[in-house]
C-alpha cells in the first residue's frame, strides 16, 4: 500500500522543515539564515506534495494539512534523525548532510517509480535535494577542516547523530522502494566528504529504530508537534 510510504516521505520533509525553520533569525551569518530558510521552504513544499498525494490515495477526506496538523506523535512515520533537536549549528548541518545524502539517493531511485505521480514528485524534489546536498557537504567540509574548535564540534556532531543513520536503510513493504539497497552509495559518498572534512566515521553500526514504523519516537517529537499544531488544535472550527 503506497499511502504509508508516501506518509513516510512527507513526514520526513515536514519534521525536518519544521526543525530548520526554528533557526529563523538566529543563524551564525545572514547567508546561513537565508540558506536555512530556503531549505525549510523547499522541504515544506515537498511535504505538501507527498502528504497531498497520501491523503488523496487514502480517500478518507483528509488533506495534507489534516495529516500534518491533526495526527499525534505515534502516527508520525518520520526517521528519528530528523526529529533530533537543532542543538548547535554543527549538529544541524551534520543532520542535514546525513539526511540529504540518503534523501537524494532515495529520490533519484523514486524518479524511476512505476507510479507516475510518485515519480513526478521525486523528479521535482531531486533538483532541490541536489542543491541541499551540495551545500551541506560543503559546510561539513569547511567546518570539519576549519579550526580546532569547529573540527571538535563537527566530530562530536557526527558521533552524536551516527546511531540515527541505520534507520534510513531499515526497510519493509510500506516503503516505496527497498531502502536497504541505498546503503553502499551512502557510505561511499559520506566517506569521501568525511575524508575531506578530516572527520572519522564512527566504527559502529548500532542503530536506533522506531521512527518510520511509529513504534517508538524520541521525546523530542511531541514537543515539536505541540508547537506546530497549536492553532488548528485550539481553534478546530477556524480556517486560516
Amino acid at each position: 500500500m503506497s499511502v504509508a510510504g508516501l506518509i513516510r516521505m512527507g513526514d520526513n520533509t515536514l519534521v525536518l522543515g519544521q526543525r530548520l525553520s526554528e533557526w529563523c533569525g538566529h543563524a551564525p551569518a545572514l547567508e546561513e539564515d537565508i540558506a536555512l530558510a530556503n531549505m525549510a521552504l523547499d522541504l515544506i513544499g515537498q511535504t505538501q506534495l507527498w502528504l497531498g498525494l497520501a491523503a488523496e490515495r487514502e480517500g478518507a477526506g483528509r488533506t495534507a494539512d489534516t495529516l500534518a496538523y491533526h495526527r499525534d506523535a505515534w502516527d508520525f512515520r518520520n526517521l528519528l534523525l530528523v526529529e533530533q533537536p537543532n542543538r548547535d549549528f554543527g549538529v544541524t548541518m551534520m543532520r542535514q548532510f546525513l539526511f540529504d545524502t540518503w534523501h537524494l539517493d532515495a529520490l533519484t531511485a523514486l524518479t524511476e517509480h512505476d507510479d507516475a505521480e510518485i515519480a513526478a514528485i521525486a523528479q521535482k524534489s531531486v533538483k532541490e535535494a541536489t542543491y541541499h546536498r551540495e551545500r551541506s557537504s560543503d559546510t561539513v567540509i569547511a567546518l570539519g577542516d576549519g579550526t580546532e574548535e569547529s573540527h571538535t564540534r563537527m566530530q562530536a556532531a557526527l558521533d552524536r547523530l551516527w546511531p540515527y543513520v541505520g534507520e534510513m536503510f531499515s526497510t519493509d513493504t510500506d516503503d516505496l522502494i527497498d531502502m536497504s539497497g541505498l546503503r553502499p552509495a551512502f557510505y561511499a559518498y559520506t566517506d569521501t566528504v568525511f575524508a575531506e572534512a578530516t572527520l572519522t566515521r564512527p566504527n559502529t553500526d548500532f542503530a536506533h529504530l522506531g521512527g518510520k514504523t511509529g513504534a517508538r519516537h524520541t521525546e523530542h517529537l511531541g514537543h515539536m508537534l505541540a508547537t506546530m499544531q497549536v492553532l488548528p488544535r485550539n481553534y478546530p472550527d477556524a480556517t486560516w
Partner: protein
C-alpha cells in the same frame, strides 16, 4: 519606514566642491561609490542605510516567532519565503552600506552595543497569528510608503537596492492583508484576534514615520541631499488615508475615536501616537527591546566559531591553490 530620526551630519567641506555636488543632486544625477561626496552625506547615509538593514534583520524575529506555529502548510511556506526575503533585503542593504566604507561586521557591532538603532516597530511583540496579518498589512504598508520614493534617492547603490526591495514588499503587504481578511471573516475568536492586532499595531505603525517634521531638525539637509524624499507628516497622512478604508472593508475599527474625514484637506484627521512611548522605545525601553538585542547578540556569539571556521577553511584552500601553482 525603517529609518527614523536619522541625524544628518553637518559638513565642513570645501564650499566649491559642495556647490558642485549639490548641483549634481539637483540635476537628478546619481552619486556613485567612487564619486566625491561630502563627509556629512556619507555619514548620514551610513547611519540611514545601516538602520534600515538592521531593521530588516531584527524584523525577522517577530515574524520568526510564528513560523513554527503557522496554522497551515501554505501559510508556513509563505511566511518562510517572506522572512527569507527580509534577510535578503538586509544583505543588499549591508552591501550598499559597504560601498560607503563600513563593513557589515562593524555595523553589526554598532547595533549590538547600541550605537545604531533599528525601527521602533520591531520592539513590539507578536502575540497572535493575526499579528502576522497586521505586520504585513500595516508595517510593510508603512514601509512601502517610504521606500517607493527612495527608489529615486540620490545615492545609486541605495536607490537600486530599493528597487528590488519594493517589488518584494508589495507581495508582503498583500499576503498580510490576505491573512487579515481570513481572520476578519472567520470565527468569533479570529475576529477578536484581528481587532486586537489592529489595536496593538495602529499607533506603533504611525510612529514608524518618525515625529512631526516641525520637531525634526535634521529633515531639511537630508531632503536637500535627496536622502529623504518626503516629510514625516505627509507620509503619515498618506498612510492613514490609505489604511482607513481598508480597515472599514475588513469590518475592523481603527482604535481612534477622534478619527474623522476632513473634507477641506481631503484627508482624515487622526490622533497622534504617544510620542513619549516612541522616545522610550528608542532608548531601549520597548516591550521587546531587550529580547531583540539579546537574540541578535546570542546569534552573533554562538555563530562566531562557524564564521571563524569558514574563514580558516577558505584560507587553507587558497594556500593549497597557491602551492599547487
Amino acid at each position: 519606514m525603517y529609518a527614523q530620526m536619522i541625524k544628518s551630519e553637518a559638513t565642513q567641506d570645501d564650499p566649491e566642491k559642495l556647490a558642485a555636488f549639490q548641483a549634481r543632486i539637483d540635476a537628478g544625477d546619481k552619486i556613485e561609490p567612487k564619486d566625491w561626496m561630502p563627509a556629512g552625506y556619507r555619514k548620514t547615509l551610513i547611519r540611514q542605510i545601516g538602520q534600515h538593514a538592521h531593521s530588516e534583520i531584527v524584523g525577522q524575529l517577530p515574524e520568526g516567532n510564528w513560523i513554527t506555529r503557522a496554522p497551515t502548510l501554505e501559510r508556513k511556506a509563505i511566511l518562510l519565503a517572506k522572512v527569507q526575503d527580509e534577510a535578503g533585503h538586509g544583505l543588499y542593504l549591508y552591501c550598499a552600506a559597504e560601498t560607503l566604507g563600513v563593513s557589515r561586521d562593524e555595523l553589526t557591532e554598532m547595533l549590538l552595543d547600541g550605537r545604531m538603532k533599528y525601527s521602533s516597530i520591531f520592539a513590539y511583540p507578536t502575540l497572535t497569528w493575526a499579528d502576522m496579518g497586521a505586520v504585513g498589512w500595516l508595517v510593510d504598508g508603512a514601509a512601502i510608503m517610504n521606500q517607493v520614493p527612495l527608489q529615486r534617492t540620490s545615492y545609486g547603490p541605495y536607490a537600486r537596492s530599493m528597487v528590488r526591495i519594493c517589488k518584494e514588499e508589495s507581495f508582503h503587504q498583500r499576503q498580510g492583508f490576505d491573512i487579515m481578511m481570513k481572520m476578519a471573516n472567520g470565527t468569533e475568536a479570529q475576529k477578536r484576534m484581528a481587532q486586537d492586532a489592529l489595536n496593538r499595531f495602529w499607533y506603533p505603525s504611525l510612529m514608524m514615520f518618525g515625529p512631526s517634521d516641525a520637531e525634526s531638525v535634521h529633515s531639511e539637509q537630508s531632503m536637500r541631499w535627496k536622502i529623504k524624499m518626503n516629510g514625516n507628516d505627509e507620509l503619515r497622512q498618506k498612510f492613514v488615508d490609505q489604511t482607513v478604508p481598508q480597515a472599514e472593508y475588513l469590518g475592523l475599527t481603527i482604535p481612534d475615536e477622534t478619527l474623522v474625514w476632513n473634507e477641506e484637506k481631503g484627508g482624515y484627521d487622526f490622533a497622534q501616537p504617544d510620542w513619549s512611548e516612541f522616545f522610550d522605545v528608542l532608548k531601549g525601553n520597548g516591550p521587546c527591546s531587550v529580547e531583540r538585542i539579546e537574540a541578535r547578540q546570542k546569534a552573533w556569539d554562538d555563530g562566531a566559531w562557524v564564521r571563524e571556521a569558514r574563514l580558516a577553511h577558505a584560507a587553507k584552500k587558497q594556500a593549497a591553490k597557491v602551492a599547487a601553482e
